[in-house]
Amino acid sequence: MKPAETIERFNRNLRIQHFILMISMIMLSLTGLALKFHDTWLGRLLMAIEGGFGMRGIIHRTFALILIGLGVYHFYYILFRKEGHEEFLRIVPRGKDVRDFVQYLRFSILGKGEPPKAGKYDFRQKFQYWGVVAGFWVMVITGFVLWFESAAMAVLPKWFIDVTLVFHGYEGLLIFLVLFLYHLYNVHLNPDHFPMSRVWLDGKISLEQLKKEHPLEYEELFSGAPSSEEEREGGHRAQ
């Protein structure tokens, strides 16, 4: 089988952003879970690996700052960089995503109709992206309240801090589960990608896969469907 033709799906900038996000998510999860499951063997093991209670906190906050830094950069990237802004416009949720979801359910459960046709980002990928965005804000805000609890309590009552702690703990657990259950299924265990989708490493996707998973994007790129010149540039060919 000759090597499939590929195009670049994620540019280097996005791959680096994804890599930093991945590392900080893993570290924040491990240090967070150590605290949440402190009374189990797993928690105690994680706590020991992380260098004890104090060190665990330092690592957690260090990677929180790295994540925040990434968030600030990402915000700049999608607002003020042309490539970033165009990419962002493709991932903004639209009415089509809801229709796609319904169509997907009809197709999967009832076996009626066609599977929905997706552009560069299908409704699952948009859900994951916006899940990360929402989680980011919840975790950062509650995290800061808990980090600077003495300052926060100048204005907030004790019960509010307790609620914040519950929020931070459960939201963190939720993000962890979604990432490690759903996201890892999609990019690793999914039979189409097993053992691993290579997009996050070299950013490349085969044309065959592009046609299968993102048919609208494929059409836009190759069958002369009406599209702007920039978008063509954004998905420039390789090999």
Binding site: M47, S108, K158, Y170
Partner: protein, 363 residues
């Protein structure tokens, strides 16, 4: 041959019997004669007015109450068995304090309680201070008494539970006064044996400074020490205490930090105080509502009344926790639902793939 065997057996039995009789007789004789022997010493020491001026000016009584001694556990001991440096009358040279370790040591054949306690004492804050030459440090007789040593279970003993605070308080005045003001002290003074005396928290012979990691009242060991009663169903039920106090603390940030050896984190005593522990309804208590800012302020700069709005011991799974309960319940269901949804999604995805493959094979 057989005869010889018999002979030896008879010899052995006779010798054994004689030895046993000797021991029994010896002890009997000891008991009977010990108290007669006291007379020689009591000629002088039996007079209530007998006193001595020490080189440092302190006056000590040298009187020995015969009845008291006869009631004590040492009623069968002769004076010089303890006062080993008294060999002549009148006494010559420096007379030392009695060293109980003549008889009381692990494995002693003297019929004393065979425990590790003697060694424990030597390692304790008191034992170490004595070794370092501190003349004020407590030795055995400071707590157990001198001529009136009784078993700790005897209500007249200096170390009987109800008397322990007074005994320790002879040196630890401030602590005794604070303890007596607290709930534990007040009720112990009224004769309530459930209440902790000093040794229930600090240990008996194994007493260390609170800053010593071996201490039961070392910062990170305090929760465990308090939980001996405050997590015990018997005590909690009997006195109507909240059964979740220890558990909720352990689940709090303070509790988790303490569990992993972070001694800067608040333990029970940081907020509730230690010797003078009072209920939150008492205006003197550090956890009385208007005292909360000051108490929390020990660690949290500029603490205000916000620290009193809500409860410190929060169980998110209990309805009494209000908003915290509802938020955490929401999250438990929400997380379960989201995860279920995603699992269903994954299963659907796999199902769709299988169906597609089957259809392909058909056509």
């Amino acid at each position: 041959m057989r005869n010889k065997c018999c002979k030896w057996t008879v010899y052995l039995i006779t010798a054994g019997a004689m030895a046993l009789a000797g021991v029994v007789y010896g002890q009997e004789r000891n008991a009977a004669t010990a108290q007669l022997q006291w007379d020689r010493c009591l000629i002088c020491h039996g007079k209530p007015g007998l006193k001595k001026v020490l080189p440092n000016g302190r006056i000590i009584s040298l009187y020995v109450d015969r009845d008291q001694l006869a009631r004590s556990v040492h009623s069968k001991r002769r004076c010089e068995e303890c006062h080993t440096d008294i060999t002549t009358i009148p006494h010559k040279g420096e007379i030392k304090k009695v060293d109980c370790r003549h008889c009381h040591y692990k494995g002693s054949p003297m019929g004393v309680p065979d425990t590790e306690k003697y060694l424990e004492y030597e390692e304790s804050v008191h034992g170490r201070a004595v070794k370092e030459g501190n003349p004020k440090a407590a030795i055995c007789q400071d707590c157990h008494g001198a001529h009136d040593v009784l078993p700790p279970t005897d209500p007249a003993s200096h170390v009987f539970k109800l008397h322990v605070p007074q005994t320790c308080g002879r040196c630890h005045l401030k602590e005794y006064s604070d303890y007596s003001k607290g709930v534990h002290g007040k009720q112990l003074h009224e004769g309530n044996m459930d209440m902790p005396s000093c040794v229930d928290c600090h240990g008996e012979h194994r007493i260390y400074r609170p800053t010593d990691e071996k201490s039961t009242v070392y910062a990170t060991h305090v929760p465990e020490t308090c939980s001996k009663c405050h997590a015990a169903k018997q005590i909690v039920g009997k006195y109507g205490l909240s059964p979740e106090r220890v558990e909720t603390y352990k689940e709090s940030f303070h509790g988790i930090a303490t569990e992993f050896g972070e001694k800067r984190a608040a333990n029970c005593a940081s907020c509730h105080g230690y010797h003078a522990i009072l209920p939150s309804s008492d205006p003197e208590s550090p956890i009385y509502v208007t005292n909360i800012p000051k108490t929390c302020g020990k660690c949290h700069p500029n603490a205000n009344l916000n620290y009193a709005r809500g409860s410190i011991h929060v169980n998110p799974k209990s309805k009494e926790s209000g908003v915290v309960y509802y938020v955490s319940t929401f999250f438990r269901y929400f997380t379960t639902l989201v995860i279920l949804g995603l699992i269903i999604h994954i299963l659907l995805d796999i199902y769709r793939r299988i169906r597609l493959r089957l259809e392909k094979e058909k056509s």
